[in-house]
Symmetry: C2
Subunit: 311 residues, 2 copies
């Protein structure tokens, strides 16, 4: 069972891209041909779940050769209840069958045996006595640190036991991340305290690549912080959201990478998966061929990242 960081960095090297495509199926932004099937259905809930699955699979096929991983966003699937969660699971399975790693964007966090349940659900194995009921469908997930080490330990246990990874929210990409994450305690903002904890939690989980199975979410919207973050977490993989729709560029994230162009994962969602909604793709590509726009948008970002990172 190979180490998570080694697995994903192998994919980054092989495909020459740190791109992670976020799968955020939004009902009001689905490609027209998919949305029309919902309107036409007598069971619009199931039709929506099917549309989410078809959309996600279409994106996966389109970006498989120029992304290291996908990051399905649980919130959108949960919107559709149990049927949506089924589509989430099928999406994860399909991505893995296409050689992509899956980072489940679930931002979970709880304590004790409840936290163990989340860890087993997404990263480990669920047992009834000695019978295996199912295995977690993700290679890694995002987790929330507010509850402290009790809320992280069970995830780490599963990382070590099953070759999986976690990305702890350290400094998020949104404007009001400042509300609490920037509060200064003992001279340093809260997110630096979390960063130090991430470094400590990951110390015993470093793979052959030199990177740990405990990574960090750091918003690409704060390029000025990346060097400091790298200093505090030298062995953490950084998952970097904020490039594209949130305004950050490939150049902005360069500080997160080592001299081999490794160590960061650039998470892009809307800018790729809804590329057919914007120019030049909107005018050039008919609605039925929406996956071409997705493929071209992903290719563009990967080309930029290769240039900036020398991959």
């Amino acid at each position: 069972m190979e180490h998570f960081a080694d697995r994903i960095l192998e994919a980054v090297r092989a495909k020459r891209t740190p791109l992670v495509v976020g799968l955020d199926p939004r009902l009001d932004q689905l490609p027209k041909p998919l949305f029309e099937r919902i309107s036409a259905s007598s069971d619009p809930l199931s039709a929506s779940a099917q549309a989410f699955e078809d959309f996600s699979k279409g994106v996966i096929e389109a970006i498989a050769d120029c992304a290291a991983a996908v990051k399905p966003q649980s919130a959108f699937f949960e919107m559709l209840g149990a049927r949506g969660v089924e589509a989430f699971e099928k999406t994860c399975d399909f991505a893995r069958s296409r050689g992509l790693l899956v980072i489940g964007d679930v931002k979970r966090g709880d304590i004790g045996t409840t936290c163990e349940a989340y860890a087993d659900a997404y990263l480990g194995e669920v047992l009834a006595g000695k019978t295996r009921l199912r295995s977690g469908v993700c290679d890694a997930i995002t987790v929330n640190p507010y509850l402290g080490y009790d809320g992280i330990k069970p995830f780490i246990k599963n990382c070590r036991g099953h070759g999986k990874g976690i990305f702890v929210l350290v400094k998020t990409s949104n404007p009001s991340s400042a509300d609490f994450q920037d509060l200064k305690a003992a001279g340093a903002p809260l997110f630096e305290h979390v960063a130090r904890a991430v470094d400590a939690w990951g110390a015993e989980g470093v793979g052959a690549s030199g990177y740990s199975d405990v990574g960090a979410v750091v918003g690409a919207t704060w390029p000025g912080l990346l060097t400091r973050m790298r200093e505090l977490m030298p062995k953490a993989l950084f998952l970097l959201p904020g490039v594209g729709a949130q305004g950050a560029t490939a150049e902005d994230v360069a500080g997160a990478f080592d001299s081999n162009g490794l160590g960061g994962l650039v998470a892009v969602s809307r800018h790729v998966i809804f590329a057919y909604e914007r120019e030049p793709f909107k005018s050039q590509i008919p609605a039925q061929r929406w996956t071409e726009a997705v493929a071209r948008a992903a290719r563009e970002i990967t080309d930029n990242l290769r240039k900036v990172l020398g991959l």
Copy 2:
């Protein structure tokens, strides 16, 4: 559409108890007759989900007359994937049909339109164009504040629009809640900063009862903090986990309540739902009649709370 705080306090007054029973179906602690059905099944995953549903419904019937609400813990249901989430939804529907409010213990938190998706999923309505796909199955949910106001605003919007509530994690009941929540910034621990924010976020959502639709999770394991918490959040309902298995008592939580014995909700899980595992119930009640132990344990706690709070 009645205000959430008014609805739940009406239930507290009518049933003379602030007890909220946590529904945490754990495979290894299910009553023997239910667990045996899983072992005997050729589809143990579906059988487990069915057992979770049956267990939850059994608990709900047993405690319906001496609890104001139930608090299903999403983690345990998610362990079983989509089938588990279906059991979660059915459990919520069943509880509401029995006159109990449902506080979904989901501890969600994300930003922007992703957060809106969670808010719609659990508290609001999910639309495809003008077609309503489904409604959220909870009356309130727990949410995580680490992402700041961006990660709370969409939930509040749904509280106001649909008569729902949220409980923001302020100071959690676990030992390592100290890791970050107790860090001192500008002279006050982080959790006090979160408490002040909870008070501000809830200011415009106060119902006829004088309490707001933005509540707080405060561990009953920190009785010394409750008076200070009440000072900082005079209008917040407190959801108080930690009584029972985690060691806190009815007396410990008294500081969270006003002079009418209102304002707090006492969340008890294992001590009630697995009462059949411990004495005196274990010796007195045969396994087939496990719900009697659950009913008696809930009644005991409610009796204690009535005495302490004068309800």
